[in-house]
Subunit: 219 residues, 2 copies
Amino acid sequence: MPKHDKISMSVIRRLPRYYRFISELADSGEKRISSSRLAELMNVTASQIRQDFNCFGGFGQQGYGYSISFLKGEMEKILGLNKVNNAIILGAGNLGKAIALHINFVEKGFCVKGIFETNPLLVGQEIKGIRIYPENDMEKFIADNNISIAVLCVPKNSVAGIIDKLYSNGIKAFWNFSHFDIARKYSDTVVENVHMTDSLMTLSYRMNEKLKSEEKTEE
Amino acid sequence: MPKHDKISMSVIRRLPRYYRFISELADSGEKRISSSRLAELMNVTASQIRQDFNCFGGFGQQGYGYSISFLKGEMEKILGLNKVNNAIILGAGNLGKAIALHINFVEKGFCVKGIFETNPLLVGQEIKGIRIYPENDMEKFIADNNISIAVLCVPKNSVAGIIDKLYSNGIKAFWNFSHFDIARKYSDTVVENVHMTDSLMTLSYRMNEKLKSEEKTEE
């Protein structure tokens, strides 16, 4: 049994990356891998890998390397990818569409059952076989389709009302592309925020700093 | 002068969030704000705000609150948003399109000059007034348009070759939506990775853990 009662978020955030590398190794037909070889592939230290894996129960015997298929299966269990959670996407604008088209939800343990949108011109259309419904149908749809997660791709000014509706209909998990602070309002929710523009601003900062340090060197 | 020689990445990653809140305050016409009021709005401690702001030189006098317009201007300078960097987007698929349509690059200090794509059916089209060019024109375009950043929205298997071409043409900054580890290959680059599916897997993990702890409570 994995002994993961109090695993730090920093270890948890490294787990998807481990899973990506292990999946690729599995796809390429490899059977076993040592922590030092995996460390080299992933550009981390072997000791970090062993420490991280120990948080989840170890996954293998020292000296023999890890069985890739066993590792993959265990990681899927830990990440909850061996079950399927039903999801809806809120907002069929550019971002909502791209998320629906680009992300392979099924591989990540989610099934998108519907997309909800206020723009009547979009209602009735389909994206990758997923139908766009009017927002008024949302509450009944959530109950009928056992929805447990909402993907928020709506503009910031319309988020607050939608969250209240989702929460009062039992949605407690959010993949949040808006800047609304859901976890603050409803503390018993699970929220993953994706703040793309924050990442772009961080890039701008780091480019600026790099330029300044290069100018200094030239002086 | 801001005294930001050795600022930790965790402080830097909080800066875009500060900037978002300060910009909203400025838009709503507010003039001054105390660290305690800002702390309440942002759901952090006033002491963290003062500490973080001190890393960048302080921004104000204790007891008087911060001038919002001054704060906004200083943050723009630190983030490099007061200059414009020319960018290209690689890949006009769903993700590339959504990024082009959804992100207001100009507000973030970037100007997207062109989109590059191998699919001949897409070449010649425009997204938000930005033209899609064939990938073969990329090298000349970079030189002619003083491009300094590349936004990578291409599938993983075609990234490696593109990076080599971009790097050899002087591109050292990447907003990277692919899973290719650019900084490892070219250590003198500035790279911001956006790993959306890692975030989705983390959400799955946390939902799974929440469910388990709820089941335990019910036992």
